[in-house]
């Protein structure tokens, strides 16, 4: 009987509010940089929007892609392609049979720019002016489809949709593709391009966005007593997952292992987290069990922590419950304080941060926490990075989404 393959990370790629690649994003995160800025447009004035800032992408795709690529792909796909190309190159462009190569690239919302642009065209110019590429551009599986085309990945091209947990769930499914023997290599991650006045207005209407227009850089402040909502971000994070055997056979550089995947649903409310954290706790415990890791060996958690009043504390209590007596030894980081919330890209970018934290033994900081919420009992990494211990270590990455989705991934050193 064959054993279940171990899954390792051999390539990383990203384009984010902090930088156009992983290296610039990671160094900006270690330096405690905010990616939030006042938007360079007249939306607030024109539409009466209560929010005029966002964590917009640092390097515009037009600077990286060809003109036809930017016209044939929704921005969400453009970000994913940029990140996937970097990840693939970073992995050493592995030689792999296309039928053993998979893609799982998710988006929380899909090609909303394309959808709304086409609707504008229809209303202004009529049906004959709606472009034939509209549907292949707007569909939420467009990013995974284009990544599959780019690399000839034919083991399967998937796009799991679970709002702000999508990017993490994609990586979890990529791990399962390798474990179940369907693929040797999987390009997995998430992407989002939702900085458009309609979704911003809609998020603002649901009272989930920070309204700190006068100081965007300090607006995303998870666990601070004055937090007032999340900051919308955009971008993509993509990893190359590989069976440990396949990576070893080609002498690939291994960043870390994705050792455990935990999934659950709240079944409670479409947007609010279940207050006892039952679903979050089950996801974390399942991920640790799957990884064969005891809670006391977890040295770092990259929290979902979006900077909302209720969500941050529910998660903090869930983490405390899972970690039990070793909770005070966990270095807790909330990197959305710097990147903003990439929605469907968030879980993937934060998995990259968690992988790099384990690989480099350095937990990234949480910024903007002037006055920590007194209810937070965990050890928050504030303002400057913190060294993680030597030896065998494990870290958790949490991602939760509207709809009641909970995803926890366990990362172990290689």
């Amino acid at each position: 009987m064959s054993t279940v393959p171990e899954v390792v990370v051999t390539g990383l790629g990203a384009t984010t509010p902090l930088g156009g690649d992983v290296a610039s994003t990671w160094s900006a995160a270690l330096a405690g940089t905010s990616g939030a800025r006042t938007m360079d447009n007249d939306w607030a004035e024109k539409y009466g929007m209560p929010v005029n800032f966002a964590a917009t992408i640092a390097v515009k795709p037009e600077e990286v892609l060809t003109r036809p690529e930017t016209k044939r792909m929704d921005p969400s796909t453009q970000y994913a392609i940029i990140a996937a190309r970097e990840a693939w190159k970073d992995a050493g462009s592995p030689e792999v049979d296309g039928t053993r190569l998979g893609t799982v690239v998710s988006s929380g919302i899909g090609g909303i720019w394309t959808t709304l642009d086409a609707w504008d065209t229809l209303r202004e110019k009529g049906a004959r002016r709606v472009l034939p590429m509209t549907v292949p551009m707007l569909m939420p599986n467009s990013p995974t489809g284009y990544v599959s085309l780019e690399f000839g990945a034919r083991a399967g091209a998937h796009a799991l949709v679970s709002a702000c947990a999508s990017g993490a769930e994609a990586i979890g499914y990529g791990v399962e593709m390798i474990r179940s023997g369907r693929a040797d290599v999987v390009i997995a991650g998430g992407t989002e391009a939702t900085i458009h006045p309609m979704p911003i207005s809609a998020f603002a209407a649901s009272r989930t966005l920070s309204l700190r227009n006068d100081d965007p850089a300090s607006a995303s402040r998870p666990y601070d007593v004055d937090r007032d909502g999340f900051v919308i971000g955009e971008g993509s994070g993509i990893v190359v997952l590989e069976s440990a055997e396949h990576a070893a056979a080609r002498g690939a550089r291994v960043y870390a292992k994705i050792a455990g995947v935990g999934l659950s649903a709240d079944g409670y409310h479409i947007t609010s987290p279940e207050p006892t954290g039952d679903g979050q706790i089950r996801a974390m415990r399942d991920a640790l069990k799957d990884a064969g890791v005891d809670a006391e060996n977890v040295v770092h958690v990259n929290a979902h922590a979006t900077s909302t009043e209720v969500g941050d504390l529910v998660e903090a209590r869930s983490i405390s419950t899972v970690m039990g007596s070793s909770a005070d030894r966990v270095a807790l980081s909330a990197t959305k304080s710097m990147t903003g919330h990439l929605l469907g890209g968030a879980g993937a970018l934060e998995t990259i941060f968690t992988v790099l934290a384990v690989h480099n033994r350095q937990a990234p900081p949480t910024i903007n926490v002037a006055n920590p919420d007194p209810e937070l009992t965990l050890d928050l990494v504030r303002d400057t990075p913190r060294d993680l211990p030597a030896g065998d270590i494990a870290a958790l990455n949490n991602s939760f989404g509207f709809g009641g989705h909970n995803v926890a991934l366990v990362v172990k050193n290689a």
């Binding site: 036809p68 110019k125 004959r128 002016r129 709606v130 472009l131 034939p132 292949p136």
Partner: protein, 82 residues
């Protein structure tokens, strides 16, 4: 005001260049959309949609499917102008 054949060719070349990334000066009347410019059917329909908008003409699908050369499209558009 009607567009001249030269103006239509120049305008169409710009549309094709946007869609394909080819330099406009390589998009000449005698080039075949499929064989020379490597344009698929979705791209041809995209080009037709942009051309209808730019030149304010209607290009029925039956006409568009007979466009082999860039010049075929230019001739149709010149003739279709009111």
């Amino acid at each position: 005001m009607a567009y001249t054949e030269q103006e239509v060719l120049a305008g169409l070349a710009e549309i094709v260049a946007e869609e394909t990334g080819l330099p406009t000066d390589t998009i000449t009347a005698e080039k075949s959309f499929v064989d020379d410019l490597d344009i698929d059917s979705l791209s041809i329909m995209t080009i037709v949609t942009h051309a209808e908008d730019k030149f304010d003409v209607t290009i029925p699908d039956d006409a568009a499917k007979d466009f082999n050369l860039v010049g075929d499209a230019v001739n149709f558009i010149v003739g279709a102008q009111a």
